[in-house]
Symmetry: C2
Subunit: 109 residues, 2 copies
Amino acid sequence: METQDAVAALAALAQETRLDIFRLLVQAGATGLPAGKIAEQLGLPSATLAFHLKELKHAGLVTFTRQGRSLIYAAVYHRMTALLGYLTENCCEGNPATCGLPAARKEPA
Amino acid sequence: METQDAVAALAALAQETRLDIFRLLVQAGATGLPAGKIAEQLGLPSATLAFHLKELKHAGLVTFTRQGRSLIYAAVYHRMTALLGYLTENCCEGNPATCGLPAARKEPA
DNA sequence: ACTATATTTCCATATAAATGGAGATATGGA
DNA sequence: TCCATATCTCCATTTATATGGAAATATAGT
Protein backbone atom coordinates (compact mmCIF):
# COMPACT_ATOMS: atom_id res chain seq x y z
CA MET A 1 0.00 0.00 0.00
CA GLU A 2 1.23 3.45 -0.93
CA THR A 3 1.53 6.29 1.54
CA GLN A 4 -1.20 8.20 -0.26
CA ASP A 5 -3.62 5.32 0.18
CA ALA A 6 -2.65 4.88 3.80
CA VAL A 7 -3.32 8.55 4.50
CA ALA A 8 -6.69 8.27 2.77
CA ALA A 9 -7.65 5.19 4.79
CA LEU A 10 -6.46 6.74 8.05
CA ALA A 11 -8.39 9.92 7.34
CA ALA A 12 -11.50 7.91 6.60
CA LEU A 13 -11.28 6.13 9.94
CA ALA A 14 -10.17 9.18 11.93
CA GLN A 15 -13.71 10.32 12.53
CA GLU A 16 -15.91 8.86 15.20
CA THR A 17 -19.04 8.51 13.08
CA ARG A 18 -17.17 6.84 10.26
CA LEU A 19 -15.29 4.55 12.60
CA ASP A 20 -18.66 3.57 14.07
CA ILE A 21 -20.02 2.86 10.61
CA PHE A 22 -17.01 0.80 9.67
CA ARG A 23 -17.14 -1.21 12.88
CA LEU A 24 -20.81 -1.87 12.37
CA LEU A 25 -20.06 -3.18 8.89
CA VAL A 26 -17.23 -5.34 10.17
CA GLN A 27 -19.60 -6.81 12.73
CA ALA A 28 -22.18 -7.36 10.02
CA GLY A 29 -19.69 -9.45 8.12
CA ALA A 30 -19.71 -10.39 4.46
CA THR A 31 -23.49 -10.05 4.23
CA GLY A 32 -23.25 -6.31 4.79
CA LEU A 33 -26.01 -3.91 5.81
CA PRO A 34 -28.42 -1.67 3.87
CA ALA A 35 -27.77 2.05 4.37
CA GLY A 36 -31.09 2.48 6.10
CA LYS A 37 -30.18 -0.07 8.73
CA ILE A 38 -26.89 1.70 9.40
CA ALA A 39 -28.68 5.03 9.76
CA GLU A 40 -31.16 3.46 12.12
CA GLN A 41 -28.54 1.75 14.29
CA LEU A 42 -26.45 4.89 14.63
CA GLY A 43 -29.23 7.46 14.61
CA LEU A 44 -27.92 9.39 11.62
CA PRO A 45 -29.81 11.63 9.18
CA SER A 46 -29.67 10.14 5.70
CA ALA A 47 -27.65 13.00 4.23
CA THR A 48 -25.03 12.73 6.93
CA LEU A 49 -24.77 8.98 6.49
CA ALA A 50 -24.46 9.31 2.72
CA PHE A 51 -21.63 11.80 3.18
CA HIS A 52 -19.67 9.48 5.43
CA LEU A 53 -20.32 6.41 3.30
CA LYS A 54 -18.95 8.29 0.34
CA GLU A 55 -15.78 9.05 2.27
CA LEU A 56 -15.35 5.42 3.25
CA LYS A 57 -16.07 4.32 -0.30
CA HIS A 58 -13.53 6.79 -1.63
CA ALA A 59 -10.91 5.38 0.73
CA GLY A 60 -11.71 1.90 -0.52
CA LEU A 61 -12.83 0.69 2.90
CA VAL A 62 -16.40 -0.16 1.91
CA THR A 63 -18.25 -1.27 -1.19
CA PHE A 64 -21.91 -1.70 -1.94
CA THR A 65 -24.26 -3.63 -4.15
CA ARG A 66 -27.81 -2.81 -4.97
CA GLN A 67 -30.50 -5.16 -3.85
CA GLY A 68 -33.92 -3.93 -4.83
CA ARG A 69 -34.36 -0.47 -3.42
CA SER A 70 -31.62 -0.91 -0.89
CA LEU A 71 -27.88 -0.43 -1.25
CA ILE A 72 -26.06 -3.02 0.79
CA TYR A 73 -22.78 -1.80 2.18
CA ALA A 74 -19.97 -4.07 3.30
CA ALA A 75 -16.49 -3.62 4.76
CA VAL A 76 -13.54 -4.27 2.48
CA TYR A 77 -11.33 -6.37 4.72
CA HIS A 78 -8.30 -6.54 2.51
CA ARG A 79 -8.09 -2.78 2.54
CA MET A 80 -7.96 -2.76 6.30
CA THR A 81 -5.38 -5.52 6.18
CA ALA A 82 -3.26 -3.46 3.80
CA LEU A 83 -3.50 -0.48 6.14
CA LEU A 84 -2.43 -2.56 9.13
CA GLY A 85 0.45 -3.88 7.06
CA TYR A 86 1.52 -0.40 6.10
CA LEU A 87 1.39 0.85 9.67
CA THR A 88 3.23 -2.16 11.00
CA GLU A 89 6.00 -1.71 8.50
CA ASN A 90 6.26 2.01 9.00
CA CYS A 91 5.94 1.79 12.74
CA CYS A 92 8.55 -0.87 13.13
CA GLU A 93 10.76 -0.53 10.10
CA GLY A 94 10.53 -4.16 9.19
CA ASN A 95 10.94 -5.31 12.74
CA PRO A 96 7.43 -5.58 14.20
CA ALA A 97 8.83 -6.79 17.50
CA THR A 98 9.83 -3.17 18.06
CA CYS A 99 6.17 -2.52 18.68
CA GLY A 100 5.52 -5.80 20.47
CA LEU A 101 3.77 -7.24 17.46
CA PRO A 102 4.05 -10.54 15.62
CA ALA A 103 5.04 -10.20 11.96
CA ALA A 104 2.17 -9.19 9.70
CA ARG A 105 1.43 -11.44 6.78
CA LYS A 106 2.31 -9.93 3.40
CA GLU A 107 -0.65 -7.85 2.28
CA PRO A 108 -2.74 -9.75 -0.27
CA ALA A 109 -3.89 -6.53 -1.94
CA MET B 1 -7.25 1.57 23.96
CA GLU B 2 -10.51 3.51 23.95
CA THR B 3 -12.26 4.59 20.77
CA GLN B 4 -11.60 8.23 21.58
CA ASP B 5 -7.87 7.61 21.76
CA ALA B 6 -7.93 5.56 18.58
CA VAL B 7 -9.68 8.37 16.72
CA ALA B 8 -7.13 10.85 18.05
CA ALA B 9 -4.21 8.66 16.98
CA LEU B 10 -5.75 8.01 13.56
CA ALA B 11 -6.37 11.71 13.04
CA ALA B 12 -2.80 12.49 14.01
CA LEU B 13 -1.46 10.07 11.41
CA ALA B 14 -4.03 10.91 8.74
CA GLN B 15 -1.98 13.78 7.41
CA GLU B 16 0.92 13.33 5.06
CA THR B 17 3.30 15.73 6.82
CA ARG B 18 2.61 14.21 10.22
CA LEU B 19 2.91 10.69 8.92
CA ASP B 20 6.27 11.69 7.44
CA ILE B 21 7.37 13.14 10.78
CA PHE B 22 6.29 10.04 12.64
CA ARG B 23 8.04 7.72 10.21
CA LEU B 24 11.20 9.75 10.48
CA LEU B 25 11.06 9.42 14.25
CA VAL B 26 10.42 5.70 14.02
CA GLN B 27 13.48 5.39 11.79
CA ALA B 28 15.48 7.48 14.21
CA GLY B 29 14.69 4.98 16.97
CA ALA B 30 14.89 5.48 20.70
CA THR B 31 17.51 8.21 20.36
CA GLY B 32 15.03 10.52 18.71
CA LEU B 33 15.69 13.66 16.70
CA PRO B 34 15.88 17.37 17.55
CA ALA B 35 13.06 19.45 16.04
CA GLY B 36 15.53 21.32 13.88
CA LYS B 37 16.75 18.14 12.29
CA ILE B 38 13.19 17.08 11.50
CA ALA B 39 12.47 20.46 9.93
CA GLU B 40 15.65 20.21 7.88
CA GLN B 41 14.98 16.66 6.67
CA LEU B 42 11.42 17.44 5.64
CA GLY B 43 11.90 21.05 4.56
CA LEU B 44 9.31 22.48 6.92
CA PRO B 45 9.03 26.02 8.34
CA SER B 46 9.44 25.98 12.11
CA ALA B 47 5.89 27.15 12.82
CA THR B 48 4.43 24.42 10.64
CA LEU B 49 6.57 21.77 12.26
CA ALA B 50 5.69 22.97 15.76
CA PHE B 51 2.00 22.75 14.87
CA HIS B 52 2.26 19.17 13.70
CA LEU B 53 4.49 18.08 16.57
CA LYS B 54 1.89 19.44 18.96
CA GLU B 55 -0.78 17.35 17.24
CA LEU B 56 1.32 14.21 17.49
CA LYS B 57 2.16 15.00 21.12
CA HIS B 58 -1.51 15.52 21.89
CA ALA B 59 -2.32 12.13 20.39
CA GLY B 60 0.37 10.56 22.55
CA LEU B 61 2.39 9.38 19.55
CA VAL B 62 5.55 11.35 20.34
CA THR B 63 7.31 12.73 23.40
CA PHE B 64 10.28 14.99 23.81
CA THR B 65 13.04 15.85 26.23
CA ARG B 66 15.13 18.95 26.35
CA GLN B 67 18.81 18.67 25.70
CA GLY B 68 20.50 22.01 25.84
CA ARG B 69 18.76 24.31 23.42
CA SER B 70 17.27 21.43 21.47
CA LEU B 71 14.08 19.51 22.09
CA ILE B 72 14.60 15.89 21.17
CA TYR B 73 11.48 14.21 19.85
CA ALA B 74 10.92 10.46 19.83
CA ALA B 75 8.15 8.10 18.69
CA VAL B 76 6.06 6.45 21.39
CA TYR B 77 5.97 2.88 20.15
CA HIS B 78 3.54 1.49 22.65
CA ARG B 79 0.98 4.00 21.52
CA MET B 80 1.28 2.78 17.96
CA THR B 81 1.07 -0.78 19.20
CA ALA B 82 -2.12 0.05 21.06
CA LEU B 83 -3.59 1.60 17.92
CA LEU B 84 -2.74 -1.46 15.84
CA GLY B 85 -4.32 -3.61 18.53
CA TYR B 86 -7.47 -1.53 18.51
CA LEU B 87 -7.76 -1.66 14.73
CA THR B 88 -7.09 -5.36 14.59
CA GLU B 89 -9.78 -6.07 17.14
CA ASN B 90 -12.29 -3.74 15.56
CA CYS B 91 -11.49 -4.82 12.06
CA CYS B 92 -11.74 -8.47 12.78
CA GLU B 93 -13.97 -8.74 15.81
CA GLY B 94 -11.62 -10.92 17.74
CA ASN B 95 -10.80 -13.03 14.75
CA PRO B 96 -7.78 -11.47 13.05
CA ALA B 97 -7.74 -14.23 10.47
CA THR B 98 -10.74 -12.44 8.98
CA CYS B 99 -8.29 -9.85 7.76
CA GLY B 100 -5.53 -12.32 6.96
CA LEU B 101 -3.57 -11.33 10.05
CA PRO B 102 -1.94 -13.29 12.82
CA ALA B 103 -3.33 -12.54 16.29
CA ALA B 104 -2.00 -9.32 17.78
CA ARG B 105 -0.32 -9.56 21.15
CA LYS B 106 -2.36 -8.00 23.95
CA GLU B 107 -1.55 -4.30 24.04
CA PRO B 108 0.96 -3.57 26.82
CA ALA B 109 -0.34 -0.03 27.26
C1' DA C 1 -48.95 6.05 -14.81
C1' DC C 2 -48.91 6.76 -9.82
C1' DT C 3 -47.34 6.24 -5.22
C1' DA C 4 -44.25 4.68 -1.62
C1' DT C 5 -39.61 3.60 -0.26
C1' DA C 6 -34.50 3.81 -0.18
C1' DT C 7 -30.83 6.53 -0.89
C1' DT C 8 -28.43 10.10 -3.02
C1' DT C 9 -27.03 14.83 -4.47
C1' DC C 10 -27.38 19.79 -3.80
C1' DC C 11 -26.68 23.54 -1.06
C1' DA C 12 -25.93 26.63 2.85
C1' DT C 13 -23.80 26.89 7.05
C1' DA C 14 -20.81 25.90 10.81
C1' DT C 15 -16.62 24.16 12.49
C1' DA C 16 -12.04 22.66 12.41
C1' DA C 17 -7.36 21.99 10.30
C1' DA C 18 -3.15 23.60 7.82
C1' DT C 19 0.16 27.13 6.57
C1' DG C 20 3.79 30.31 7.56
C1' DG C 21 5.52 35.14 8.87
C1' DA C 22 6.67 37.70 12.90
C1' DG C 23 7.64 38.04 17.47
C1' DA C 24 8.20 35.74 22.12
C1' DT C 25 10.68 32.42 25.15
C1' DA C 26 14.38 29.42 26.79
C1' DT C 27 19.12 27.97 26.87
C1' DG C 28 24.15 28.33 26.35
C1' DG C 29 28.41 30.64 25.70
C1' DA C 30 31.54 34.86 25.54
C1' DT D 1 24.93 41.18 30.39
C1' DC D 2 24.67 40.52 25.52
C1' DC D 3 24.29 37.79 21.53
C1' DA D 4 23.30 33.63 18.92
C1' DT D 5 20.65 29.48 18.57
C1' DA D 6 16.61 26.41 18.96
C1' DT D 7 11.98 26.22 19.26
C1' DC D 8 7.63 27.85 20.36
C1' DT D 9 3.31 30.79 20.44
C1' DC D 10 0.41 34.20 18.26
C1' DC D 11 -2.18 35.54 14.57
C1' DA D 12 -4.25 36.05 9.98
C1' DT D 13 -5.46 33.55 6.02
C1' DT D 14 -6.68 29.75 3.39
C1' DT D 15 -8.61 25.38 2.72
C1' DA D 16 -11.04 21.28 3.99
C1' DT D 17 -14.53 18.74 6.69
C1' DA D 18 -19.05 17.91 8.96
C1' DT D 19 -23.98 18.66 9.36
C1' DG D 20 -28.62 18.23 7.89
C1' DG D 21 -32.90 20.10 5.36
C1' DA D 22 -34.87 19.89 0.86
C1' DA D 23 -35.16 18.21 -3.56
C1' DA D 24 -33.62 14.73 -7.03
C1' DT D 25 -32.99 9.86 -8.52
C1' DA D 26 -33.77 4.92 -8.67
C1' DT D 27 -36.54 0.91 -7.85
C1' DA D 28 -40.75 -1.74 -6.70
C1' DG D 29 -45.47 -2.58 -6.34
C1' DT D 30 -50.34 -1.57 -7.68
